[in-house]
């Protein structure tokens, strides 16, 4: 990495970093190494990465299935009181599902995370909204995560619940 050039930001009243901040011009080792000749074409990279990623898909979908089952079990026990475990399970599911095109499943999972976050922040917990979300996740999963008029309708309903929680 080359020696960075440092400049001191002059005093002023503008918002931001404030008086006395320094700005350093840096050329990272990543930039220097990527500038060397060689490497792979973008087309090759996309093909290689997609192939490698696809080898994980079956395991990933099993994990998603297990997460939805866990959410159903929690709802079955009771969803009428704030429970952080819902958010942890739902966000864990998103972490895995987010590597593949799971269409409406990802959107429904994201909606559930957002709902749980909004309810926990506001202190206004609504167990019915959680139950509807989990049921929607199951229906979408059983339908193969396909985008259909039914899944669009389900997502529209979840959005209405979310909007209501935000209001």
């Amino acid at each position: 990495m080359t020696k960075p050039v440092t400049t001191t930001i002059s005093a002023g009243s503008a918002v931001g970093e404030g008086e006395g901040a320094t700005a350093v011009k840096v050329v990272s080792s990543l930039s220097k190494k990527m500038a060397e000749p060689g490497g792979l074409t973008v087309a090759d990279i996309e093909r290689r990465s997609k192939e490698r990623l696809l080898s994980h898909k079956a395991d990933a979908m099993r994990s998603v299935e297990a997460a939805v089952a866990e959410l159903e079990q929690r709802v079955g026990v009771g969803a009428d009181h704030p429970d952080e475990a819902f958010y942890l399970t739902a966000s864990k599911m998103l972490d895995v599902a987010g590597f593949f095109d799971t269409g409406p499943l990802y959107d429904a999972g994201y909606s559930l995370c957002e709902l749980l976050d909004v309810m926990q922040t506001s202190g206004q917990w609504n167990g019915d909204s959680v139950r509807v979300h989990v049921r929607a996740l199951r229906m979408i999963l059983n339908a193969g995560c396909e985008t259909t008029p039914q899944s669009a309708s389900l997502l529209s309903g979840l959005k209405a619940l979310l909007d209501h929680a935000r209001a």
Binding site: E17, V24, S28, L30, A35, V42
Partner: protein, 196 residues
Amino acid sequence: MNKDDRVNLEHSSVLLIDDNQQALDMLGSVVQGFGVREQIKLTSATAAVKLLRERSVDLIIIDCADPEMDSYAFTRWLRRETPAPMKYTPVIMVTGHASQSKVREGRDCGVSFVVVKPITPNVLLKRVVWLAMDGREFIECPTYVGPDRRVRNFGPPMGEKGRRAGDLSAHIGIAKEANMEQADIDALLKPQKVQL
């Protein structure tokens, strides 16, 4: 990026941190597909702290919600507690859902880029290439350490005096063309004979 463009990540070392082993393996496969020969995979940010005390890496990709040290705390540590040039290491934060309390933290912790899932290899590659060409300055001050959060420089806000030596007046804005040569400027100002 065209399909025929070449991207060389063969010689770059990439540190991947994800507290979800399955997601870490998938991220590792994507990065392997990029042609990266040296990737280090860790399931906790605290393990990454130990590693970075011993050696440097060229790029860090992190998705960690571990309450002991999450992505935000790790990036703050990297930016504030490590010496240069390690503190300048590009950091891409990958996230599924970011809770409201974390949105501002994400902006202020000093990450180079936030990539929101769902991610595809193509999106991640674009961000890595963008970072390699990143011309932003690195800002250090009591309240923030990290890449300049202003990705586009439109100059200081209207009515405000710019704080950087190169800031132009807000009424002029950022230069769109190269500076004129002094000789050209002199020529414009030089009195000339007018033919009648």
